[in-house]
Structure formats: C-alpha cells, structure tokens
Amino acid sequence: MVAGDEDILAVEGLSLSFGGAVAFAEIDLSVAAGEIHAIIGPNGAGKSSLINAITGLYAPQAGRLRIGDARFARVPARRLAELGVARTFQNLALFKSLSVVENVLSGLANVQRAGLTAQLLGLSAARREATEHRARAESVIDFLQLGMFRGRAAGSLPYGLQKRVELARALVANPRLLLLDEPMAGMSAAEKAEMSGFVLAAREMLGTAIVLIEHDIGVVMRLSDRITVLDHGRRIATGTPHEIQANPAVIAAYLGAEDDPENEAKAA
C-alpha cells in the first residue's frame, strides 16, 4: 500500500487521541485522483475523527498527511479550499439563514477576488465575478435538482434536502478531493438511491476523488472503488469491495458487533 504520486491524498501513520482516549492510531490511507474511497467501521471506530483530522479540525499527535503536493503534520483548515478540498459534515453545517443559492455561492468564498470597494461600488470586475459565480452556483443547483428551493432559507428545508444543499456547496468549487461524512444518514431508501446517483455523477463530471463515510453497506459496495475498514481506531483492511467482503478480519469485526446495523455486511 505504498502511496503513489498520482494519489490526491496520502495519510501516513496518523494518530489522534483525546486525553487518554484513542480516536485512531497509525492510520495509512491513500486516495487516488477520481477514486471513490469508502471508510467503514462500527460506531466509534474513528471514521469521523479521521475526516476531521484530514480537514484540520483536529490536530493529530503523530503521522503525516499529503494533499496534492502539500505535506502537513496538521492541515490548516483555512487553506483547505485553496488546496482543492471540500467536505460535508455528519451533522449539517449549513448557513441556516442564508438561501440555498447563497449557501452554494458561499462555496466559492475561496475564489472571491473582487475587493470590498469594488463590491460596494458595483465596479465591473465585481459584477463580472458575481455573474460568473451565480452561473456556477445555478449549474450545481440544477445538477442536484434544487432549483425549486433556490430562494428558500437553507434552515427551513427538510433534512434530506439540507444534505443535498451541503453537497452542492461542496461541489460548486470543483474540488479535486471531496470528503462526505455520512451524506445519506437518516435518509429513506429512495433518497439514498438519489444521493448515490448524485455522488457518482459528481465523480463522472468533475473527476473528483471522494472519501465517503457511510453506514449502509449496500450503498458502500455499489459506489466504492476501494474500501478502508476501521475498527477501534485501527485500520484492519483496505481493498476493493470484493476483497473486503471476503476478508476474515472484517467479517470478525462485524460479527463482533452484533447489535450494530452493519451486520448487513456479512449478508452483502
């Protein structure tokens, strides 16, 4: 599992603990350009913590990260967008009082160039940029079929739509790496199928590499090129969906957690 140069993300020996509690330890992970890489594991396996460490919200104690050509011990969160990384959150993190369009537009905050004076005076540079950004936002809104909600305050939308707005905000910047933390949690089967379609289409259209945390093993098997399995903060396996299904360590981990919904893994 040597990280290749074409990998967009390489995580080497990353460890994080809170006080004495280990969130994850010595994690290696590599994500190739355009790959959909799922991270699965029982609750508390460290999946979300790993994504939060990759996006600079948590400071890992050991290990290294590479995003594109940039190497870090800790990723500065404020530079993420500039590095071409976007993410969604397990618990929604929308700008609730802003409209859907404004939320999507805010995904372009990093490429705003017109200065405040140009914005206030409505200089042509600011107007041209506003028109261009609006067009980009509208095309993502059309793509995710959010058109009829574009003027609504994001916080007033039902949960599933809010998840979709968050995806739109992440996609509008054409990221080369997109991290989705349970984008389908709490969705109905129909909504999951729809969301899966959007994730695949986003990869198709933008060539975005996607790191996906998801509990629904059926969805994971259908979407992923590769899967990494975490258990108690350790990586126990990485491989294609086929390899993962046959991996004894993975089966043991999932059989061990009997009251966990991921028991479907052995059936899948």
Binding site: T55, A81, S97, S106, L121
Partner: protein
C-alpha cells in the same frame, strides 16, 4: 417551476424600492415644509442618529453575530475625533472631517475587535464592555481630547458645508438625513455583497465558513471596522447635530444598551430593523409622557416618567423577544403579507 420563482421574488423587491423612494421623497420634500423645530430637534434628529448607530451595530451583531456592548464608545470616538479634527485642522471641510472621524472610529473598532478572534458570545461582549469603560476613562483623563475644557463638555462646531449653513433645526435634520441615507445605501450594498454573505456565514457556522475559504479573522475585523465606521459617524451626528455639545456622559454604557435594544427590538440582521427600533425608542418616551400627563395631570413629573419608561420598555423588550424574536421588522413583514393579496 423554475421560471415562476424570479417573478415572485422580484415583485417585493420592486415594491420595496418604491417604498424607499416614497419615504425619501417625504423625508426630503414634505417633512422640511411642514415640520416644526420641535419635531426636528426632539424627534427626527435624535431618531436619525440613533437609527444610524443601530444600523452600524446591526452589521456587527445582527449580521456577523458578534455581540458588542461598546457602541457608545465608538460613537464617542467618532464625536471626539470630529471635534479635534475641526479644532486642529480648521481648513478641513466638514464632509472630510466626518469621513476621517469615521475612519478613526473604524480603527478603534479593529483594535476592539481583536479579542473577537479568540472570544465569542458572552465573553466577547465583556471584552467590548472593557472598551466602553476604557474610552470613557480616556476622555475624562486626557484633557487634550476635550481641548482642556474643565468639565469635559465642549461646544460642537458649526455645520457648514461649502458656505451653506445647516445650523438651524431644519438644517441639522437635513444634514443628518443625508448622511444617514448615504450610509444606509452603503450598508445595503454591503449586506447584499459577497462580503455581506461571509458575515452571515461566520455567524451561522464559523467552522463551515472557514472550510469553504471565508477568511474568518479578516472578515470579523472587517465587520468591526465597518460597524464602528458607521457607529462613529452616528456619534458625530449625535454630538454635532443633536446635542450641539460633545461630552463623555452622552456616550455612557446606557447609550450602548439603548443601541443594542434598538437593534434587538427592531430586528437583528435586517437594515430596516435599526430604523424601526430607533423610532420606537424615540417615540415611546414622548407617548408615555403625553399619556402620563393626560392621566395623572401634574403628578406625573420627570422622575416618574423615567421610571415608567424603564418599566414599560423592559416589559416591551421581553414581550417582543417572546412573541417575535426577529423583532419589529418581522412583525411588520407579517402585517404586510396579511394585507397584500397573494395569487
């Protein structure tokens, strides 16, 4: 479906623009003709100054979500800066004096905003409270700022622009109105710009804002600067156009709270909220005083008035916050929606 939406969203905007033009026409055309100097001096000029201060604070607290209890301090910085500029640079035209005073208040705002990079909510409010006390202390201690006037009270300079005097009651009203109108346009442009969107993004979810590339620290300081610029100029109006004197007592903590109440009652995160709240704050005491005199006759002295005023105001703030946390602006919106027929 997608084509129907812009039509419905453009209609209120056009109606809103028409309403604003009508208000401006009344404010510039009708009011100066029919108004008495009592109306100008006791109601409209303080209303405009307070509304402007509310507008400035609303950018910071309503839009960017940064709570400040130091508004009066920034008003004082603006007023004293304008006083000192006109005293020490006598050749400076008044508009330049006011602009510079605003910029000085903005710099003070940036310094006061530095703790906002680390603190938020209640803790930030306490740090702005420190600014409030520091400014009051500095104005009382440093004689140079008040030109060594023994009481700290100084007369405001005359309001003259290019030979035109705005010193009478109507002139001071028109002077204030023009400044407030200009700065309101500026604020309106701001909240609809990408920068305005960034302010709200930081308020609604700071982490998400940082992740999408909003420069959080810079935007917070910018919010302090823009807010203090406007609040500082409101201070100039308060001192130069309304009180006609400049004194530290006019900018005490009570004033900071008054402006915060204006914003809360009027509606956080709306521009018209500042005007509604300020109107409420200025008109309420007058109404209560009239009402009290009518009911109690001479027994209703200023002491009683002040007490009643505080009780009623306090009750109303609580009532508004419970019934309509989004303030008078939201209340008015609902009333309009009920009145206007919808297809």
């Amino acid at each position: 479906m997608a084509t129907a939406l812009p039509v419905t969203s453009a209609q209120p905007r056009r109606a809103g623009a028409a309403g604003i033009l009508l208000l401006l026409a009344i404010a510039y055309g009708l009011v100066p003709l029919v108004g008495t100097s009592y109306l100008f001096e006791a109601i409209l000029t303080p209303f405009l100054a307070l509304a402007l201060a509310g507008l400035g604070l609303n950018l910071l607290t309503g839009y960017a979500g940064l709570l400040s209890l130091g508004s009066a301090a920034f008003m004082a910085v603006g007023a004293y800066a304008a006083f000192n500029l006109s005293l020490r640079l006598p050749g400076l035209p008044l508009p330049a004096t006011i602009l510079l005073a605003g910029l000085i208040a903005a710099s003070a705002g940036v310094i006061a905003g530095l703790p906002a990079l680390r603190l938020r909510g209640f803790y930030l409010a306490v740090s702005t409270l420190a600014v409030q006390f520091f400014v009051a202390w500095a104005l009382n201690r440093i004689g140079w700022l008040s030109n060594d006037s023994p009481s700290g009270i100084i007369d405001a300079p005359r309001l003259v622009i290019a030979g035109l005097s705005f010193d009478d009651a109507r002139g001071r009203y028109l002077f204030s109105l023009t400044i407030v109108a200009l700065l309101t346009v500026l604020a309106w442009r701001l909240v609809r710009s990408p920068t305005g969107r960034n302010l709200v993004a930081i308020r609604d979810h700071e982490t998400a804002a940082r992740i999408v590339g909003v420069k959080v620290a810079r935007t917070k300081l910018l919010a302090f600067a823009l807010s203090s610029f406007i609040v500082g100029i409101a201070g100039v109006l308060w001192a130069f156009a309304y009180l006609r004197t400049v004194e530290p007592a006019g900018f005490n903590l009570d004033r900071s709270f008054q402006i915060l109440f204006i914003v809360i009652i009027g509606g956080l995160g709306t521009l018209r909220g500042a005007f509604l709240g300020a109107g409420f704050m200025v008109v309420l005491p007058l109404l209560l005083s009239r009402l009290g005199t009518a009911l109690l006759g001479d027994g209703f002295d200023t002491g009683t008035l002040e007490m009643v005023q505080r009780i009623v105001l306090g009750t109303l703030i609580v009532a508004v916050l419970i019934r309509e946390p989004a303030g008078l602006a939201a209340l008015l919106d609902r009333a309009f929606r009920r009145l206007s027929p919808r297809s």
